[in-house]
């Protein structure tokens, strides 16, 4: 079995299939995937997808709304946001009583928002930025991992994480090789464990690397938790920046990040 995790294909496959990869790089990539089943599978998958999608009609370009409609839409969005803020504040007030165990042996490796803090935390005054900070561990949804030894180390680490044993999780996840496919996931969960243990600077540094690395299933969550760390440290500017970036990715944390941005604005105004 090839040790490749598919990185060459992730980097090259699109320009290669579109014929825009320089010839020398195309040759190198070809010689690689001739011996690499992981990258070959990616090439084949996108070739099949291209054939299938080419048979379907292309969507027409979206039309921009006429100006009276824009104002109506803006008003509707504003109303929805207001409702969202009210709903969010109500949710935060009630959901500490409804803590659920972190379970889930299904789905994907992307972090999911955690509905309630896992450990009791001292409640800061409600009109501070720190009162908005959600430093609870995000839920982990395991996936079936391939790759024997590396996946075993990751699985052990995440098993400790799922038991909320953050010190052990940090120790075990550190053994996941950096070139492993789930290395980014290991880094992310190490970061949130460090955050949960109160090592905020180390956590911010680790999460910052994941956020800066670009597209990954953990990028949005990393930005969201960077925002939480900034809130906890009363750094409104950094919190606003990180939460806005998380919102711009339109993923699972979008709604929560939006609500926190609104609440953050309100607190900033009241100061």
């Amino acid at each position: 079995m090839t040790p490749c995790t598919g990185i060459p294909a992730e980097r090259c496959v699109e320009p290669y299939l579109q014929g825009t990869l320089p010839e020398n790089e195309a040759r190198s990539f070809e010689e690689h995937y001739f011996d690499c089943p992981v990258c070959l599978a990616q090439v084949e998958a996108l070739q099949i997808a291209t054939r299938t999608l080419a048979r379907e009609p292309l969507p027409p370009p979206r039309r921009v709304m006429a100006w009276p409609m824009r104002y109506a839409a803006a008003a509707a969005i504003a109303a929805a946001l207001l409702l969202g803020i009210v709903g969010f504040l109500h949710l935060r007030a009630t959901h500490s009583a409804t803590a659920q165990p972190m379970a889930a042996q299904r789905g994907v490796m992307a972090p999911q928002p955690q509905p309630a803090p896992l450990m009791p935390q001292a409640e800061p005054p409600s009109n501070t930025l720190a009162s908005l900070a959600d430093l609870s561990l995000p839920a982990y949804q395991a996936e079936h991992l391939r790759g024997a030894e590396d996946s075993a180390k990751f699985t052990e680490g995440m098993s400790a994480y799922s038991r909320h044993d953050c010190p052990l999780a940090v120790k075990l996840l550190a053994k996941v090789p950096t070139e492993a496919r789930f290395s980014a996931a290991a880094q992310f969960y190490t970061g949130v464990c460090q955050m949960h243990l109160g090592h905020r600077e180390v956590a911010a540094s680790r999460l910052g690397h994941i956020a800066a690395a670009g597209d990954s299933p953990q990028q949005e969550a990393a930005l969201y938790y960077l925002g939480q760390l900034a809130l906890a440290q009363d750094d409104a500017a950094a919190a606003k920046r990180d939460l806005s970036l998380a919102v711009s990715l339109h993923g699972d944390f979008e709604r929560r990040a939006r609500a926190e941005l609104s609440a953050l604005d309100k607190i900033s105004e009241s100061r």
Binding site: G19, E30, A41, I48
Partner: protein, 208 residues
């Protein structure tokens, strides 16, 4: 101890022999099983490469056998000196054959091709290819309609995230994020399958 001081025969040396070297030696000896294994190993990558370069599935299907048969003939004649470069050798034959086709706009039949080449092996992959197509199409059907549209504009139209964002009135970040997710969902479907059934990475003489 120096290498030439030992009585150990070359075949028992501690230097590991790669799958490719073993395969090249076996083909040169006229081992029919090795030839079949060679064809099974390179059929998929050769087809993927021909399709990527020609964008013509019929032509790729037509030429893939010629590439493998030409490569087998060359290996029988012992034309590959460095067996570790077997994949590069096959890829070069595929590129040459395709370039010849484009230059002449017709298939060029080789002058000398033995009758006993393993043509039958080319049928083996049809079922697996159908399964791969079904899996990818299943993944496409499960995609969010917007993700599917973004993937379509990327793969079929060759548009960059910025152009797609403009066309769909979305942010570039949103397009990029959705494109990555959609691509991963599609490739993961077939990647999982490939890690369990890769005939090309089976050592000579071993079973799956």
């Amino acid at each position: 101890m120096l290498a030439h001081d030992t009585d150990e025969p070359a075949s028992l040396s501690h230097e590991p022999i790669s799958d490719s070297e073993a395969m090249v030696c076996a083909i040169a000896r006229g081992d029919a099983d090795a030839e079949r294994e060679f064809a099974e190993r390179y059929l998929r990558p050769v087809r993927a490469m021909l399709l990527a370069r020609s964008r013509n599935p019929d032509l790729a299907a037509d030429l893939q056998q010629d590439v493998l048969l030409d490569a087998l003939c060359a290996l029988r004649r012992g034309q590959l000196r460095d067996a570790t470069k077997l994949s590069a050798f096959v890829a070069a034959i595929a590129r040459n054959l395709l370039n010849n086709y484009f230059r002449s706009q017709k298939k060029t039949e080789p002058l000398e091709r033995p009758d006993d080449l393993p043509c039958a092996v080319f049928a083996f992959d049809t079922v697996e290819q159908d399964q791969r197509e079904a899996r990818v199409n299943e993944a496409l059907a499960d995609l969010d309609p917007l993700d599917r549209t973004i993937l379509q504009l990327t793969l079929v139209e060759g548009l960059k995230p910025g152009a797609i964002a403009q066309r769909l009135q979305l942010s570039s970040d949103m397009v990029r994020q959705r494109k990555v997710r959609a691509t991963r969902r599609v490739t993961d479907m077939i990647r999982g399958q490939s890690q369990t059934e890769v005939p090309g990475h089976i050592a000579l003489g071993k079973e799956t």
